[in-house]
């Protein structure tokens, strides 16, 4: 089992990789860079990755965290993969709507809905 660091938990459902963000607050650059590097390692492990990032543990995120997600999305797309987001609490979803990033990302209520979307 590959260790991707303390900030994420990685699991697999068939061909789909689920990354759960473990921090309640994703605010400052130090934390964000560690998370980004961990997720980039996951993405680098295979081309055409089908990736879900779960925000079930996350209560706060900053605009810098949004920037991190944009960079991750770009890396996933460049490797021929697809990224979906899940479990965004209502206040965090509101941030995506205010910044219009709800149109840039596929967002689902939970992991099951995101998993089903890969199969549809």
């Amino acid at each position: 089992m590959t260790n991707y660091g303390p900030k994420i938990a990685v699991s697999r459902e068939g061909q789909i990789t689920i990354v759960e963000l473990l921090d309640e607050e994703i605010l400052e650059e130090g934390t964000i860079n560690v998370i980004a590097d961990s997720v980039f390692s996951v993405v680098a492990d295979g081309t055409g990755i089908k990736l879900i990032i779960s925000f079930a543990q996350v209560r706060h995120l900053s605009s810098s965290a949004l920037g991190m997600l944009i960079r991750i999305n770009k890396r996933v797309e460049e490797s021929g993969g697809t990224l979906k987001l899940s479990h965004l609490r209502k206040p965090l979803l509101e941030i995506f709507k205010i910044t219009r990033l709800d149109r840039s990302f596929d967002i689902y209520n939970d992991n099951n809905a995101a998993l089903r979307s890969f199969n549809s």
Partner: protein, 147 residues
């Protein structure tokens, strides 16, 4: 109900010190009866204001200081964040929601502050930001200049 809280804090250009300052102010707001959604908005806006002060204002120079003055009452919260930079023109910031900017990883901080606070204004130089959060539960709150 507690009496109004007036405080002035100085921090270095450190993200961890910024986190502590945020927590102090959010706790003060909670003690004055602001609800969870207000606290969320306050923490987000403070995070953006302080990150901008550290990253853009003070260029992450650990020798440079950020001054934070805040006043918390039941009616409103006023916060002034001052950095030691030369300032900027806040009217000249690209719209992060424009199609051509959506893939830009930066540039959303001010927009989020404006979305979550009742007032966001800069001094003429652009190195001091004043943010105001009114308590929607209070009948006395208004955005008229408090200081």
């Amino acid at each position: 109900m507690p009496s109004d809280t007036y405080q002035e804090i100085e921090i270095s250009s450190s993200f961890s010190q910024a986190r502590q300052a945020e927590q102090t102010i959010v706790t003060a707001a909670e003690n004055h009866g602001y609800v969870e959604s207000d606290l969320f908005a306050l923490q987000l806006s403070l995070e953006e204001a302080l990150s901008n002060a550290i990253r853009h204002g003070n260029r992450q120079d650990s020798q440079k200081i950020i001054n934070i003055r805040y006043h918390v009452s039941q009616e409103r919260i006023d916060i002034y964040v001052a950095d030691e930079g030369t300032g900027f023109d806040p009217t000249n910031v690209p719209d992060p929601t424009a199609d051509e900017n959506l893939e830009n990883p930066h540039g959303r901080g001010i927009m989020l502050m404006r979305a979550y606070m009742n007032l966001v204004e800069y001094n003429q130089e652009g190195n001091v930001v004043h943010i105001v959060k009114l308590n929607p539960k209070s009948t006395k709150s208004s955005c008229k200049n408090h200081e």
